[in-house]
């Protein structure tokens, strides 16, 4: 019991951090949607192990059902943006129903227009940000492309933090070889004080050996 309690406590900081970053990603798609007055906005994260794109955050149309859904990492518009690292803006998507169905796979509905931009952190590509159905007013301008890039930069930083939080969580899990440290901390915490003090003295000695 005590073991679990402490491990939970150790993990709590990490888990809380992950929840906080999820909120940050959600906030980014909400703001992206608001700024572009768009119908929806979404963020995909690249799952390198599975080589797939995963929906991490969605604002607007299709929101609830899309989180956690997966897409191929190198086909379709999101895949092209991920692999080539270049943004893409497409309008008049409804012209062809076959193509529209293809797009809907990555959006949850058939949009009229789509902006997709890579989320780059240093030389790593972490995912893709999409903004769907901004109002068709005047011509698209390169300034909008720049604004999209600024948003992408913010989202990439958030995704990088999320990735770090997940890796930290894996470290305190039992599955990880380093889990022994969390388990040891839990055991020490549960010991009566007369046994804990000599145990701590022993660990102190170990620390001096490892880190002279």
């Amino acid at each position: 019991m005590a073991d679990e309690k402490l491990r939970d406590a150790v993990a709590a900081g990490v888990l809380a951090a992950e929840a906080g970053h999820r909120d940050l990603l959600q906030s980014i798609v909400e703001v992206a949607r608001a700024i572009f007055a768009a119908r929806a906005s979404s963020i995909f994260l690249l799952d390198k192990q599975a080589d797939e794109l995963v929906f991490e955050a969605v604002a607007g149309e299709g929101a609830a059902s899309l989180i956690g859904q997966r897409l191929p990492s190198s086909t379709g518009i999101a895949g092209w943006v991920l692999v080539t690292g270049q943004p893409l803006v497409l309008d008049d998507l409804e012209n062809d129903p076959r193509f529209a169905r293809d797009v809907a796979e990555s959006t949850g509905y058939v949009p009229k227009s789509l902006m997709a931009v890579p989320l780059l952190h240093d030389e790593e590509v972490l995912g893709v940000l999409q903004v769907l159905d901004r109002p068709q007013r005047e011509r698209f301008s390169l300034q909008e492309m720049e604004l999209l890039g600024l948003f992408a930069n913010q989202a990439a930083i958030a995704l990088d933090l999320l990735g770090r939080a997940r890796r930290a969580r894996a470290v305190v899990d039992d599955e990880s070889p380093l889990g022994v440290v969390a388990r040891l901390a839990a055991t020490l915490d549960a010991l009566p004080v007369e046994r804990r003090d000599p145990a701590l003295a022993l660990l102190g000695a170990l620390e001096r050996v490892l880190n002279p």
Partner: protein, 282 residues
Amino acid sequence: MAEPAEEEYEEELPAWSLPTAGLDAIRMPPTWPDRVDREWAWGGSTGKGAVVAVVDSGIERGHSLVGDVEEAVVVTGAAGEEPQIEEDEEGDACGHGTACAGIIRSLAPECRLVSVRVLGSGWTGSGRKLVAGLRWAIDQGVDVINMSLSTTKLDLAAALHELTDAAYFNRTIVVASAHNMPVESFPWRFSSVLSVGSHELDQGDTFFYNPNPPVEFFARGVEVEVAWLGGSSVRSTGNSFATPHMSGHCALIRAKHPELTPFQVKSVLYLTANNVLEEDRG
């Protein structure tokens, strides 16, 4: 990590200086007029005879805006394996390669198009496939390679640099998209490629020389009507659509003046750029 391209392209050591007796061998034919203009550069050219390779997501067969695709290959191979080149029967994994091919075709209706698909088999290993696809296209000795894509992976930069240099000396013009965001990526930053960004005008034959490189030319890249999947067309924006406009012009020039080196083609494009022509007229 891709094999260094150096060995493949190592040639017999040429004379890197010019003895007086060699002057005849490098005599230039008097084909350039006093003032190069668009009529001289590509007037009457349809791109016939020029071969343009599109290194991208593939090209959809039978699209009315693209027409014939002479050859289509795909780079395959699992992660960790050496990439292989195979005949491609799948077409386009995204729509983007078809869009680029359509733009090139609209400018150079009789050029020969070759599709080199480097996308569609996963994100893992995609950078090495890009390098392998580019190497194959250079080996074919095509006139122009359209690369509306780039990589941020530093470990591929050296291989791409060697390849684009090899292309430059082998008379192949590599036309590459500049990044739309302030990001370090390759190969567009190399001086041996012709790098392209977007202008906002809606004329496909309007392009500008940029006196402040690394981006060398600006071509139409905003709200371009392009070919897309399923025989459709969409309006699209991005430097990746400006690039095939420059590739199309390169094909036109090469078809009319096959003797021109990449350096000379760049010079012709500089002399015929809208801002340079207009400045000249005063």
